[in-house]
């Protein structure tokens, strides 16, 4: 693990998680008040279509404005975006988000791997990826893609995760730059670009 890796020039912070990750976000988000120079994208495994409670829940918890994600929504700094249920969330080269209903990956749509890989191809070193709690192997390939493209990757410390499988699988296969507990993740985010 590299210590004191300085994160600067970050344009997009992408966070993936499955079971047990919402609790982490509920703890993190109230403490994030303002992100002037990067966008936050959340890719969480979620159930039924037409369910907007996740968006509502998250918008209650943070002062950072939430941008509704539709096809071709522009991606801008200072906003939070959430991958909609039943679609894969992709990144276009002109800072636009697009959607895809192709096959589930790792039994999931949205799939964390799909979004992480797509973001890595567009943002390269300007991307930071964080993988949280979960019981599935989604996210590992995506983190590898981010790392290969020069971005920084962070994994939640398995001991601090409700479901340690997803972070553990990622740690074993990616050697992340940081493995952090929830408090550490918060500190890490607060220091991006500063």
């Amino acid at each position: 693990m590299e210590k004191n890796r300085v994160i600067e020039g970050c344009k997009v912070l992408i966070i993936g998680g499955s079971a047990g990750s919402l609790e982490v976000l509920m703890e993190l988000l109230p403490k994030l008040t303002f992100v002037p120079d990067f966008a936050i994208v959340l890719v969480l495994h979620r159930k039924s279509a037409e369910d907007s409670t996740l968006e509502e829940l998250i918008s209650y918890k943070t002062e950072i404005p939430l941008m509704d994600v539709e096809d071709k929504t522009p991606l801008r700094s200072g906003f939070i975006y959430i991958a909609p249920s039943d679609y894969h969330l992709l990144f276009e080269t002109n800072d636009v988000l697009s959607l895809d209903t192709s096959e589930k990956i790792n039994y999931s749509r949205p799939s964390i791997d799909v979004s992480f890989e797509s973001a890595a191809a567009v943002y390269g070193p300007a991307l930071v990826g964080i993988l949280l709690s979960g019981a599935n192997s989604d996210g590992t390939e995506g983190l590898l893609a981010i790392k290969r493209a020069g971005g920084s990757i962070v994994v939640q410390m398995p001991e601090s995760a409700q479901m340690p499988f997803m972070p553990m699988n990622a740690i074993e296969n990616t050697s992340p730059h940081y493995v952090l507990d929830v408090k550490g993740i918060l500190n890490f985010i607060l220091h991006i670009n500063s």
Partner: protein
Amino acid sequence: MINDRELEVLINEVFEYHGFDFSGYSRASLKRRVERLYQLDGFNNLGEMLTKIRLEPTYFKRMIEEITVNVTEMFRDPLFYKVLREEIIPVLATKPFIRLWHAGCASGEEVYSMAILLQEANLLQKSLIYATDINPVVLDTAKKGIFPLQMMKQYSENYRISGGKKDFSDYYTANYGFAKFSSDLSVKMVFSEHNLVSDGSFNEFDIILCRNVLIYFDKELQERAFTLFDNSLAKLGYLALGTKETLKFSSLQKRFKQLNKDKIWKKTE
């Protein structure tokens, strides 16, 4: 893996040799689809793949089949179908004859869903449902109306949420793991190949449904498709899009009025 430049080479070759123009497709998704096929078929480099696409018509057919996304389901987004059932169909019912167009219908699950709604409203007899897709293979499936039996549990639940009151299994016959839908439903369907990139308007419709198709197009190509739909809609006709698709980034938005929060727009001009 395929890089951005190689993807552009492939797009150019496919257009040059086969006349199919993918240049207006959203790159992020197209790249994933091409990479998936490249890996699936075990190519070692792009040259190999291009040669096969150029020289083997059957392989080109496979490519079209595999890079277009054909994921669909019956009564997909059941609440959308509830709005169709309760708000749109009663309006269509006032017309002497109802013309519908499913643009990009894939294997036809949503076309059969619509036919069920029309039949339950006693309107199927005076309706004509055009269903088109770029991909002839999925159209063949659609024509047959045969879908995997294992999906019926979910479809039946979707049907119920959409306001369906009947026993969903009355609409099909189960056989060897497949459900064959009654030909009473398909008798008013016309299936045909149509490419939203290059083909024009072919009729005037009271409603056009194009759901989760335009997400694969970039904004310019979306604009072309919207213009085509506008030219193909009767006055006060409806345009229905997918749950996360919108007319709001288009200049044609002003010619349409969105119904509540649902992804249905009414042509006002």
